[in-house]
């Protein structure tokens, strides 16, 4: 009983999709407002971007901005932490705050119908936090436990170790954004440091969702309009890279797999060939039909999946490849990986690979930015990394128009197999020689 199946249909032309229109305005106090109306999206996102980046942490007190972000909902001048949580949660809202090189982002997700009630709570958290010492101490204690968890989880551990290899010893970029036990023990006056850095003129509020009938500027004015004060914009720190070809093995005896992270320095989103870089990275390691997984997963079965991508920071960044392979396959997987990368570099990508990358990255745009949270997050990445709002359209235009030659040039410039550093978390006795054999002679082994 054989099914009667239709032949493959032909596909029409795609509709040109554009990033949704952004309404930009400023309050009298200088606060920047970006509003995006997304029809039918009934849970809104409101995000406040504050110029409190982790590299502004005082030396020796790394982790301050992250702890400050985590303590924003631990009590304000008018509400205790429990009162704040209760008020927010009764609106069906959720609150989250984090910090990175692009500053602190405090985000609220709330049904649009309750935006007017919830927005003052968001403003209260970022403008009037009191950072009670008891709560700060508790959040620091939780961060210390988080460090222990990071150490014991292979992907987290590799992610923590790679920046220490990539950057010059002692520089900010080698220290975890959320601090170390030593730097957290040295934290003083989180409150003063935070309040000294925030000001309306360096702050952006982003509101996305179905905003029909919502007076967003009016609501934001009610919550943030009375805020006064000044602060100098932060001058971001550029990373200093240590380019020696090194490897680190984190010895975790009995591991079922080796967690691998390879990386080297790369530019940030302001690079003129950023779109071409994205196309190249997709063709190499974007999906399971990309060059790396076509061999390591679909031909050899060494891994559940290995991805390669550019990881930009506010200044600089890295090209990284990460994934895990079963312990016995570590040596052949590394060898195949390096062969894939050097072959791509020598021979270049083919036109069909370029087209596949372009059609995916361009075509997926409406899915990628379908939700209010995703749109707000993209705008936050633009603002937090000092890019103009026109950057998004330029990026998409670049994806559409980059030529194969440009993609190959970007790949050869920004993916350099011989420069890759590697962190391997796994059974050292079983995998160290594999790293030697692939040319990583400068190799340290540390206990997990």
């Amino acid at each position: 009983m054989s099914a009667i199946l239709q032949p493959r249909p032909t596909v029409g032309a795609p509709v040109l999709w554009r990033f949704p229109h952004v309404d930009e305005s400023r309050l009298d106090n200088g606060l920047r407002l970006l509003a995006v109306h997304l029809p039918g999206k009934h849970v809104a996102t409101a995000a406040v971007l504050l110029d409190v980046p982790v590299d502004a942490d005082p030396a020796g007190q790394e982790g301050l901005a992250v702890i400050a972000a985590r303590c924003l909902d631990e009590g304000t001048t008018s509400l205790t932490a429990t009162e704040f949580a209760d008020a927010l949660e009764r609106q069906g809202a959720s609150f989250h705050a984090s910090a990175g090189y692009d500053g602190i982002t405090a985000t609220l997700d709330v049904p649009v119908s309750r935006l007017g009630t919830a927005l003052p709570l968001l403003a209260d958290a970022v403008l009037n936090p009191v950072f009670p010492q008891e709560e700060v101490d508790r959040v620091i204690a939780q961060r210390l436990v988080e460090i222990v968890q990071e150490q014991s989880n292979p992907p987290s551990r590799a992610g923590v170790e790679l920046p220490r290899l990539l950057h010059v010893a002692g520089t900010r970029h080698t220290i975890h954004a959320a601090g170390t036990p030593e730097s957290l023990a040295a934290l003083t006056s989180v409150s003063a440091a935070y309040l000294a850095r925030i000001a309306p003129s360096t702050t952006t509020v982003i509101v996305t969702g179905d905003l029909s009938g919502v007076d967003v500027p009016g609501l934001v004015h009610q919550s943030f309009g009375d805020w006064q004060g000044t602060a100098d914009p932060w001058v971001p720190t550029s990373p200093q890279y240590d380019t020696r070809r090194r490897a680190l093995v984190v010895d975790r005896p009995g591991s079922a797999q080796t967690q691998l992270v390879l990386g080297h320095s790369a530019p940030d989103r302001s690079a003129p060939d950023w779109s071409a870089m994205g196309l190249a990275a997709y063709a190499l390691g974007g999906t399971l039909t990309s060059r790396i997984d076509a061999v390591l997963r679909e031909e050899k079965g060494y891994t559940y999946g290995m991805r390669g991508s550019f990881a930009p920071q506010r200044r600089g960044g890295a090209f990284t490849i990460h994934g895990s392979v079963d312990t016995d396959s570590t040596a052949p997987a590394l060898q195949d990986l390096m062969t894939v990368l050097t072959t791509a570099s020598t021979e270049g990508l083919r036109e069909d690979e370029h087209v596949a990358a372009r059609e995916y990255l361009v075509g997926v745009s409406p899915m990628r930015w379908e939700t209010p949270g995703a749109v707000a997050s993209q705008l936050g990445a633009v603002v937090g990394n000092d890019l103009p709002l026109t950057w998004i359209d330029g990026y998409l235009e670049g994806l559409r128009t980059a030529t194969l030659d440009e993609v190959n040039a970007a790949m050869r410039t920004h993916v350099r197999p011989a420069d890759l550093l590697v962190v391997a978390v796994g059974e050292a006795a079983a995998i160290t020689s594999a790293l030697h054999d692939q040319g990583w002679a400068d190799l340290d082994v540390i206990p997990a």
């Binding site: 199946l5 509709v15 209760d86 009764r90 968890q149 559940y304 079963d326 059609e359 997926v364």
Partner: protein, 426 residues
Amino acid sequence: MSLQLALTDTRLANGLRVVVHSDHTSPVVAVNVWYGVGSRHEQLHRTGFAHLFEHLMFQGSRQVKGTDHFSILQGVGATLNGTTSFDRTNYFETVPSHAVEVALWLEADRMGSLLEAVNQESLDNQRDVVKNERRQRYDNVPYGTAWERIFAGVFPDGHPYQHMPIGSMEHLDAASLDDVHAFFTSWYAPDNAVLSLVGDITPDDGLALAERYFGGIAAKGGFEAARDGVIGPIDAPLRVEVRGENVPSEALYIVFRVPADGTADCDAVELALMVLTEGASSRLVTRLVREDKTAQFVSGGVQRLIGGTGLGLLTLRTMPGAELADLEAVIAAELARFAAEGPTELELERVRAQSERAFLDSISTVEGLADQLGRNATLFDDPGRVSTALASLLAVDAEAVREAAARLLTPQNQFVLTYHLPEAAA
């Protein structure tokens, strides 16, 4: 709140159920196929098979070579994946609307002709991939096998939910091409599937395209029911202590057998557990994380299952120096207090608002809504339930929440799993 979704719900002559919801906001269509087969349908000596099979569904069919399923869809800008769970397996893609026919063609081709392409090589390769998936997600991470231990412990031998969808390494190793053929023949057919289409497509077009691409696949009928999973609460508390695994902190999981998804009891238990653990102002977070500072986090919820039972769960990890037994005693006291007093109106208002937002979030993408339609059609024979399930949850009153907690979140009805630090570090 009331949510009115315009749905068309139709069956093709071969039994394929087609559910369409039009939303022309964005030029995309979510295509979602739910098959009524999950790990609960597996034979006891072939665990992990439904999931291994899901991988093979991406390895080609009559007109689709190798991994072309991925490259064809991604080549038009689609996102795609598949997942296997206890009760079902689903395959989904969100495609730009001009390419929806390609998605339907691909789904139909593998529904109708997968076995023409499966071979020993693809089976061996995907077996290795799945074994690495298992290592990555279960065996190589701290607490990675907690869920496996829970399902193995909370259900008796032979129960359809006693094993996880990922299955065991031995069973994966033993899977043969004959097993693949038998599995496909038993479960993969239009009359055991639901096709949901959400987005920039009209009901008429959706139905016509479904007929065109799936209409030539024959119905099978005679699908075997899963083994009976109906089971009540636990008679006497069960406990498993894990020592000697290299975990960074002590951990506690308390698991309750509760009624199946779709019952008022299941909703009531979920609300009770939310009052206890959801958000910074919940009872256990306030007590253990904020006041006592003995827990890193506390969380809880319901694992909704369809086959005669579900699970309620409370879990936490300790802060250094805290005694697990002390935390367990606090939870026992809070459960007893909740059973006696129930939630306050304010607490209930809070968790209802949180449930409403979570639900709106879950259907805020075309993919999310298509998934909900497939779920409700497959498990409840009612795609329209997506509009009413939330209302049912929100209608559970304080006394019903208290009563369900008093009856189900009891000291007897508990499977407790604890992780302890290695001796040297204790």
